[in-house]
């Protein structure tokens, strides 16, 4: 059994462990487990840490119409940490981008939903991701296009913290800062755990907020499971009208189920047992 480690933030303002999940957050997590169970594999813990970020984006922030997923004026949202895709699939299905039934075909030959999201296959997916460090450069391309054509849409790039070890992230951060891309928001799911261990041990990201600021971003950190904090920071446009925005979301990897939280063995889970599935559903409540 891989040991759990506890890298949680202690500052009470942004401490993700203080948040109790509401019914919608539990329901989305149940959908994630349904999908995971159908595919018999998946980055469950990586998806659980993302739920509130994606939920607030798709419920309250993005200008989108699931019936017109390619509408020119829509806001663009790229899930750069593509391995967290089950959370994205759950919210896209919930919003009606594709039938919920499709979730039952996760990772199956006949399905459109793979272990990483693909542009052109999945309505609502703006870019194929999976290899890390690709979403931000593509998002900069979107944001520059909006500026070139004087279009009002915003681009959101949701990234993992471990992903920020990729050089391309910082190449892109320089570029976003240089262009003062105020129509771009980077959201980092800062759960502080990678596949092997903590980001502090494996990559060394701190001082993380200062890094974004020094690259020309207006940056804040929030509790990434606190719906109100997320709404408040995401709904009000850029933090600075002359800079790209970076929002560090303090989260818990595996948030919502006692035995998946901060448990490295749930980063990418295969070979799930019936007992484990039963316990997952037991903690998340019954579908209703």
């Amino acid at each position: 059994m891989t040991p759990t480690i506890n890298p949680n933030e202690t500052n009470p303002r942004i401490a993700p462990q203080t948040i109790k999940l509401d019914a919608r957050s539990k329901q989305l997590r149940r959908t994630i487990i349904d999908t995971f169970a159908a595919g018999k594999r998946g980055h469950v813990a990586s998806a659980f840490s993302l739920v509130e970020i994606l939920r607030v984006l798709y419920d309250d922030v993005l200008n989108i119409n699931p019936k017109q997923p390619r509408a020119e004026d829509r806001d663009r949202c790229i899930l750069s940490k593509g391995h967290g895709c089950i959370a994205l699939y759950a919210i896209l299905a919930d919003k009606g981008f594709f039938p919920k039934e499709e979730l039952n075909h996760f990772c199956k030959p006949e399905g459109i939903l793979g272990g990483h999201p693909e542009y052109g296959k999945v309505p609502g997916v703006e870019a194929s991701t999976g290899s890390l460090g690709h979403g931000l450069p593509i998002g900069i391309g979107f944001a520059l296009r909006a500026r070139m054509d004087k279009l009002p849409f915003r681009t959101y790039v949701v990234m993992g913290d471990g992903e920020c070890g990729e050089g391309s992230v910082w190449e892109a951060a320089l570029s976003a800062g240089k262009h003062k891309l105020s129509n771009l928001t980077v959201i980092v799911d800062y759960n502080r755990l990678m596949s092997y261990g903590s980001t502090d041990d494996v990559t060394g990201l701190e001082p993380f907020l200062d890094k974004w600021r020094s690259f020309g971003f207006a940056a804040v950190d929030v509790n990434g499971h606190d719906i109100e904090q997320l709404r408040s920071v995401l709904k009000n446009g850029p933090l600075d009208s002359n800079k790209p925005t970076a929002i560090l979301c303090h989260t818990i990897k595996g948030k919502g189920v006692s035995f998946t939280e901060n448990n490295l063995s749930w980063h990418h889970k295969t070979g799930v047992t019936e007992e484990e599935l039963k316990n997952l559903y037991a903690e998340l409540g019954n579908n209703s």
């Binding site: 870019a127 194929s128 450069p137 593509i138 391309g141 520059l144 070139m148 190449e171 892109a172």
Partner: protein
Amino acid sequence: MRKTSLDTVYELAKKDPRVVFIGSDLGPDTLKQMKAEFPNRFFMEGISEANVVGLAAGMALEGKIPYINTITTFLSRRACEQMVLDMCLHNVNVRLLGSGGGLVYAPLGPTHLAIEDIAITRAMPNMTVVAPCDANEMKRIMLQTVDYQGPMYIRIAKGGDPIVSVESNLCKIGEPIVMRKGKDALIVTTGITLKLGLEAAEQLKTSKNLEVGVLHVHTLKPLNERLMREAFAAVPAIVAIEEHTVIGGLGSSVAEIIAEAGFDKPKKFKRIGIPDVFPDQYGSQATLMKRYDITTENLIATISGWL
């Protein structure tokens, strides 16, 4: 050839608002006029090729046609994954104009020599790979790039290369050009080796009265395999010559077609190119080509030895 390709980007930009130029860290006056006329479609993004290719793919997903220019090894080697995933997996209209294809940067050493760019790009699904022989052919190809669908890699040679292409030949992306017909042997060329092929065929005619054909493959992918098979079927001996490693480039493509063609009689066949080494000398493009026998003389000797 580089000047022609960049001048053509400006020409295309004047006609089509989707055309965007992106450089990494090029010379101070690069596309000065385009920058002055279309400042919001001219980007100089710094020494950050992964980001440059990624953001170009983002623009292309949004309907733009970005042309990227930088030293070619920094694309095919450094930004390889961005080319595969951001450009090719999304199948978007990004055009890479790779400067210094082959041995052009001889004095700068192996970090700058693009000896395997064709092999790398050829293996990327959806990628079109083009190596024009001179500035005129570059121009003809560049003019087709706005309406061409999918990602493209265009290999730029040294510049000032002698003009050997012929305007009356149909130059269409994806279609090899029969430059010279001949029943005794066939020389298959790409990029600047067309000049060597034409010289060798002419000298073999003059000195030995041999009829040697020359097939110029400016587009290495997609290949018109049917046309190439027909050309190979008509001769007993074939030489492929390229300014590139013999692994995975033109010679390999030709060998693959011959191997699968099921010809009744076996063909004499040779690949002329850079062996599987990092070039170990400086000098010039010409001296390195001579060092690896990528020469008219080697073509003549090879074909003469067979016939």
